[in-house]
Symmetry: C2
Subunit: 233 residues, 2 copies
DNA sequence: CCTTTTACTTGACAAATATCAAGCGCTGGG
DNA sequence: CCCAGCGCTTGATATTTGTCAAGTAAAAGG
């Protein structure tokens, strides 16, 4: 049902790396890997957390909001899990999820996870670390929102994007602009204007292609700090 | 060094409730309980996480921000811990903390915690649950910020405050208004105006005393949802 | 008791952000 | 190839939120 290659990808996740083979097999019993096309809703906020989802390929958008207005909370890329906290607490999902590319999603029954925690200390330890990391990521996102303006958030996003791709000054936006706008907490119109505002700081945009020519100027504006912008800090 | 009463309070924390006495004793070795006056900075963001802090009495404000502007991220009240994630990851604090009342703070060496996790599965399990709860709390806060206007955030805060105190329609603000403003992501001036905006919805304010006379009207405006406003969901 | 400070409020104004409407330029389907 | 649809941009305007300045009220301290 699952190709060895994909299975290995999941095995290598920090979350599962240190558990023994038997425990890993038990965990995956009843799991299934499925390929979804773009723009498919995988989970809806408020639903019970029956499965832990692992993005093996593609990309998934976590979003929230009812009655018309909604907001992108995060983008999940391979290989990582999402909504782990809901699974552990056996609580309803706080966010909805949909694919933004064709994606391979592994779904592991929540009960397997909960039993695994109880019986396997190595898994429990990995979970503690994983959740602590998730918590810190959301806190950083919170700080980003509360302490920075829209233009600053965009500037920092671009700096990080460039740095992640080697700091060449040339990068491509990995997501649609309207999704980026929502992720950064603004409207698409505002994102366009924010790009225009950054032009004097050496930011040029052509479609999805980004060019940063005055990184130092941009940094002076963005004032990046590891305690917000470094995912590993 | 620590009164039995205070010790018991800490023992009853969900985080420590299920571990055995020996493990608890080991955990508390080298810890100390200290009383701080109001407005004392306990930790500064960026510092290494040497201690897990437990608020045994009083109240602590978690905040962030440099160069003049800062923002309140959370208020921690007895009996609970803060900055657990930093301790676990052995990473720098993401937020600063200061007392907003005279407070009794128990400080547990981080190394005790990390050793405890490795050796005691019960502690690991409790941590997983605790962290999952913390994660969900921050996600809710994020949704609150991204999906609601300042007035809506205030309305929901007041509804929750009243509900927590029995839903009598009469409550007192437990924190200063300027702290509340920052917690809700607005300026003190804006908070004053938000209160004025809510007057037609039955909200009256006299000093710290709040009276809600048209709860149903207020709910229609606030549109509270458990997935943002219920700390237990 | 008076003085000084501090929190809060209010008003006028400025800046940031959202909304509405129109138009441009791809892209994909017939 | 043409056309329709969609994402994006731009302009005009409205709303929200922040800033600055002044004033009031209440608390803290001598």
């Amino acid at each position: 049902m699952m190709r060895a290659e994909d299975r290995q990808k999941v095995r290598d996740l920090r979350l599962f790396r240190d558990i023994d083979d038997a425990a890993f097999d038990a965990l995956l019993a009843g799991s299934y890997l499925q390929r979804f096309p773009t723009h498919v809703v995988l989970i809806r906020e408020g639903d019970p957390a029956d499965f832990l989802h692992v993005v093996v390929g593609g990309a998934v958008e976590l979003f929230s909001g009812r009655n018309g207005s909604e907001s992108t909370m995060d983008i999940v890329r391979p290989v990582s899990t999402f909504i782990l906290a809901a699974v552990i607490k056996d609580a309803p999902y706080l966010m909805s999820a949909r694919t933004i590319e064709a994606s391979d999603i592994l779904m592991i029954p929540s009960s397997n996870l909960r039993e695994g925690i109880a019986s396997d200390p190595a898994l429990g330890l990995a979970m503690v670390t994983e959740l602590a990391g998730c918590y810190r990521a959301v806190v950083k996102s919170n700080k980003n929102l509360k302490l920075r303006s829209a233009v600053e958030r965009l500037a920092n996003y671009l700096l990080r994007l460039d740095a992640d791709q080697g700091g060449t000054g040339r990068t491509d936006l990995p997501i649609e602009k309207r999704v980026l706008a929502s992720l950064l907490g603004m409207t698409p119109e505002n994102l366009s204007r924010a790009f225009a505002t950054l032009k004097p700081y050496g930011v040029s945009v052509t479609g999805t292609a980004i060019e940063l020519t005055k990184i130092e100027d941009l940094k002076r504006l963005a004032k990046p700090t590891p305690l917000v912008d470094d995912p590993d800090a």
